[in-house]
């Protein structure tokens, strides 16, 4: 291989010495393989989850705890976000960073610790989530020991990245690197704050936040996980790989600077749009809406910058499969970021929230933006690192069409389902009553859409298999180059105070050259939004209209609540009745902030595949719950709910009760001192009472020490406190 002389971009350096070094491609290859392998697994789990919704009683998964929808849905989301996209980020960062700074990664050991550490974390998620070990905070379900491991590995990644940047031979930090730095620092902050929890055992912890605050922190995290894990790093990759693939510089470098600062500043404020019409204070909801609507400007600025990079090269899009994938990816980004602000407008959100519309929205982002950009990069990267041509451009085109059709077949029926749900939930008849008072009527209507969605997912997944075959064949035809020789002039120590034209330098150019300052100012910028929204909400906590009749859960209810979170009930059921007539009519009194003060963590949910449960308590007899949990289809033939026969068989582990009570006390839940040792006594009394009641009402084999009893206790408590007379 011949080396072309590399040009130096920094003016004012005199007779620099030329360094020779080697780029590490092996780490890039490893992350690429991991991204694809975990991607296949994550998408397959998604497909299984989709099929469970249309065939809930299929023997393959019905009644098997590890395959239950509530447990594998978090596995699907975590696998796609952190395993598929996560490894995709690292693949792109490790490839582009070395070349953008003209230096190899600082430490091969750190690279490898990062790689294997991340894979171990994914593996532990793969084991713990199906076991029901979960915090129940969406996209942050992993329990505290894994959270600690994530923090450590993330620091390793950041250290390796920053030290590599410090060792650079290119003075200017290209815009992609800014996105990498902002990603790193923001994800670190989000992860630490949202994961704050007190352990009540090795595999169990309770969020330090409760109710409204927990919801705000969670969706500040949840929204910004989308922003800073699924978006900003991928924008960095777009700014690197799109110019590469199109063989021309980005459309406007000036626009990219504005894009960067505007995006990271505005994004961090938008989280509360996930909680519109909830018990979150109004001002926080309004802030979320305003910033979400503003987000369209930087988002579309970035999208246009990506698309216009192809100026004068649109003919290439017809023939170059890499560009095809990238164009659809950036277009999907544009669609999702138009839709996001629209969904944040309260009147529109009132319709779409809790419906399948949200599922369509996130999949346009995940399948289109993240998926297609990853595929485009892989098609560009693999032939390059294996020093060969793509095995079959035709097959890549087949993948492109399978994937594109997959996205359409996924998203369109889900949009349709979302509208259908909203229309049916809100329809009143002439008699002033809900036309579809039975929630199930609104569910059965969606089955054709759910089938089409599963078809879309199958097409998309089939496309990925085609890609794997194509890339493996490509790799076999070529020879992998683990280390790529390169050379560049060393960076001169002194920096010119003036640029080549003698003009004085500006502050931004100064910051562009200093990774640590960039990191610091990015951090400040993202902290502003988080602090402004959260601190007042936390101060307000003491002013949350305390409802005197709201009392801590009994030990049995607490154990039942933990079963509720373990089984992932929140993935299909909300506990947040919004103040709409259609909801108060259907569910009862709307939810108040003061009702959730002992909810560590909150269980408001984000999706109603089944009905809201906040006012479930006292609605049905215990025996109804018992039979319904055993086999929902014995009560409603068309129910989509998984059955939970193991709850009737498995004994409740009450050895954990004292530790759980103590943890709750540490979090401020007012159990009397020393109650941890007495709790099990109360627990057993309450369980005996429920079991006896069940036996009286025809459930002859009801036993007090089973998990189902605790769950029934919790379900019967839900939303009942405000109905009780306040005790003085």
């Amino acid at each position: 291989m011949t080396l072309e002389p590399l040009t130096l971009n920094s003016p004012g350096t005199a007779a620099p010495q030329v360094d020779r070094f080697r780029y590490d491609n092996a780490i890039v290859r490893n992350f690429a393989i991991a991204s694809v392998a975990w991607g296949l697994a994550g998408m397959l789990v998604g497909l299984i989850a989709a099929l469970e919704m249309v065939m809930p009683s299929l023997f393959l998964w019905d009644g098997i705890p590890f395959l239950s929808f509530g447990r594998i849905r978090p596995l699907h989301t975590n696998a796609v976000i952190f395993a598929f996209v996560g490894n995709g980020i690292f693949m792109g960062v490790y490839y582009s960073l070395q070349r953008l700074v003209k230096a190899p990664m600082y430490s091969k050991a750190l690279s490898n610790i990062h790689f294997w550490g991340w894979q171990l974390i994914i593996l532990s998620a793969l084991i713990t989530l199906p076991l029901g070990i979960t915090t129940s905070k969406e996209y942050a379900e992993l329990e505290w020991p894994i959270d600690l491991a994530i923090a450590v590995v993330w620091v390793v990644f950041g250290l390796n990245m920053i030290l590599t940047i410090m060792n650079r031979r290119e003075r200017h930090l290209y815009v992609a690197i800014w996105f990498y730095i902002a990603t790193w620092v923001t994800v670190a902050v989000l992860h630490i704050v949202n994961s704050m929890a007190l352990p009540a055992g090795l595999f169990k912890s309770y969020s330090v936040f409760a109710g409204v605050q927990d919801a705000l922190v969670q969706w500040w995290y949840g929204h910004n996980a989308v922003a800073f894990f699924l978006t900003t790093p991928y924008l960095g990759l777009m700014y690197y790989f799109m110019p590469k693939a199109a063989n021309r510089p980005v459309f406007s470098y000036r626009l990219s600077i504005i894009h960067f600062w505007a995006l990271i500043f505005i994004y961090i404020w938008a989280g509360p749009h996930h909680l519109l019409y909830s018990a979150l204070p109004d001002w926080a909801q309004s802030l979320g809406t305003v910033f979400s609507v503003m987000l369209i400007a930087p988002s579309w600025g970035g999208m246009l910058n990506g698309l216009l990079t192809l100026r004068g090269a649109w003919d290439k899009v017809q023939s170059d499969h890499v560009l095809k994938f990238m164009v659809v990816a950036v277009t999907a980004y544009g669609m999702a970021t138009f839709e996001g602000p629209m969904l944040s407008i309260k009147s529109f959100n009132a319709i779409t929230h809790f419906t399948d519309w949200t599922i369509a929205h996130v999949h346009v982002g995940a399948l289109g933006w993240n998926g297609f950009l990853t595929f485009g990069i892989l098609y560009w990267l693999v032939p390059r690192m294996w020093r060969t041509e793509i095995f079959s451009a035709k097959l890549a085109n087949v993948h492109f069409w399978l994937g594109t059709l997959g996205i359409i077949f996924y998203a369109l029926p889900m949009y349709w389902a979302g509208w259908t749900q909203a229309a049916m939930w809100n329809e009143f008849g002439e008699d002033g009553r809900l036309v579809y008072g039975n929630f199930l009527d609104t569910v059965t209507q969606l089955i054709p859409m759910y089938w089409t969605r599963a078809l879309g997912g199958t097409l998309y997944l089939a496309g990925v298999f085609v890609m794997v075959y194509n890339l493996v064949k490509t790799a076999y035809a070529g020879k992998f180059q683990a280390y790529e020789e390169a050379e560049a002039p060393a960076l001169a120590k002194e920096e010119p105070a003036h640029n080549a034209n003698g003009r004085r330098e500006y502050w931004h150019r100064w910051i562009e050259r200093r990774p640590l300052q960039m990191l610091f100012w990015s951090l400040i910028l993202i902290l502003i939004g988080g602090i402004v929204e959260m601190v007042p909400t936390f101060m307000v906590q003491s002013n949350i209209p305390t409802i005197a009749s709201v009392k801590p859960y009994t030990p049995l209810e607490l154990q039942g609540r933990d079963i509720y979170t373990r089984e992932g009930c929140y993935t299909c059921h909300s506990q947040m009745v919004r103040p709409f007539r259609s909801e108060t009519e259907r569910y009862g009194e709307y939810s108040k902030a003061g009702e959730f003060v002992y909810d560590h963590p909150f269980q408001w949910g984000s999706k109603r595949t089944g009905p809201d449960l906040h006012r479930l308590g006292g609605k049905y007899p215990d025996s109804w719950h018992y039979n319904h949990m055993r086999d929902p289809r014995s009560m409603f033939e068309q129910s989509l709910m998984p059955s939970y026969p193991w709850l009737l068989k498995d004994k409740l582990d009450i050895s954990t009760t004292p530790a759980k009570i103590r943890t709750m006390q540490a979090l401020g839940v007012p159990y009397p001192a020393g109650y941890d040792e007495l709790a099990n006594e109360d627990l057993q009394k309450q369980a005996e009472k429920i079991a006896a009641g069940l036996r009286e009402t025809g459930v002859e084999n009801a036993v007090a020490d089973r998990e189902i009893i605790a769950l029934i206790a919790y379900l019967q408590r839900l939303g009942t406190d405000i109905k009780a007379e306040p005790t003085k």
Binding site: M1, T2, L3, E4, L6, T7, N9, S96, R99, L100, K102, E170, H172, Y174, V175, A176, Y239, Y240, P243, K244, A245, N247, R248, P249, V250, Y253, R254, L255, I257, I258, W261, A262, F265, P281, D282, W283, D320, V322, W380, P383, R384, R387, E389, A486, N499, A500, N501, R503, Y506, W507, H508, R509, P536, M539, V540, N543, I544, P545
Partner: protein, 68 residues
């Protein structure tokens, strides 16, 4: 109830005004900066990714190092 909390801060009505001024000042400064940036520098910076690799003969998407 949150209104009570906000009301208890003295001169709280100034806060949104200050906030929007800072916000606008930041973006105005940013726009002024990018508009005043040196053309050749912008071109240099934008070309970093297309110039960072040696030529691989025969590869369709190999960047042309003569682009400058």
């Amino acid at each position: 109830m949150y209104k009570d909390v906000l009301r208890s801060i003295s001169d709280v009505s100034l806060y949104p005004v200050v906030a929007i001024l800072i916000f606008f000042a930041f973006f105005v400064a940013l726009i002024v900066y990018v508009l005043r940036m040196d053309k050749t520098q912008v071109r240099d910076m934008a070309s970093i990714p297309v110039l960072d690799e040696p030529v691989v003969t025969g590869h369709p998407s190999t960047p042309n190092t003569q682009i400058r």
